[in-house]
Symmetry: C2
Subunit: 134 residues, 2 copies
Amino acid sequence: MKPADILYNHNLKRTSCREGIIEVIMSADRALSENEIRKRLKVNYDRTTFYRSFKTLEEHKIIHRIVVDNQTVKYALDNSITNKKEHAHFYCNDCQEVQCLESAVIRKMQLPAGYTEEETEILIRGTCSLCKRN
Amino acid sequence: MKPADILYNHNLKRTSCREGIIEVIMSADRALSENEIRKRLKVNYDRTTFYRSFKTLEEHKIIHRIVVDNQTVKYALDNSITNKKEHAHFYCNDCQEVQCLESAVIRKMQLPAGYTEEETEILIRGTCSLCKRN
DNA sequence: ATTTCAAATGCAACTTTGTTGCAAATATAG
DNA sequence: CTATATTTGCAACAAAGTTGCATTTGAAAT
Ligand SMILES: [Mn+2]
Ligand SMILES: [Mn+2]
Ligand SMILES: [Zn+2]
Ligand SMILES: [Zn+2]
């Protein structure tokens, strides 16, 4: 599906910023940060616009956010677009890149009595296959 | 074990800031943020000192950090002090409190070929037993 | 094609979180 | 008590994110 169609399906206005962000995230093989996305866009948008766009796209489940640490947020396409299940994410301590591990499907954990789960986030830190070789 | 002994065992100077932080974290039944810890201390330390203390205590595996989101970090006693295993953490969407789920031991996930795990972080978001009741 | 207007953008000002360099204070070994 | 390596506080800074408001724009209606 094309960025423009995705926006249309969600009743979102087709602005170049939103379209650009979706375009860049769709064509990436890994999760990207705000700055990585900015670098790949032709036009330069204000930070505010960028943040508001991410917020809107997240709310409409077009993209999802991966919090690596309190200082680093990355974005990838959401499961509702990729038709994948909830999955773990991998952070390479070496190249610092984040990948969606679509094969690592998240299974719910046993919780203490009275607790209810709504969402489970898993972040695996380690070394990716590319960095392992070197 | 007392805060002073913990510091002594790690060859760390016994300063009131470090001792206070450990004291507060030890006596809490949940993970606390920088500000929550500050409020519970008698003396007011500079933010820099606070951050440096957290860093030192983390490096010596006396406390561990739980990143709730890119804006929120909480601290709890580390497993090396509590003698517990790597566990998942629970964030209550209602009361916004974080708890170590020491019964929810982390089991390693299957990774794609060539990937190596070093650490797995699990954060479960949902409603805690107290908030459920109300 | 032109008009209309709710929604999106850009800008300025601000907040929160965290970091760095350096001088002053202090914990602890001798 | 003294010496000194560590730790602390302060100032200055940086990065990330938010808010209010005036301007611009997408797209629906005419
Ligand atoms: Mn993902
Ligand atoms: Mn914990
Ligand atoms: Zn790597
Ligand atoms: Zn709760």
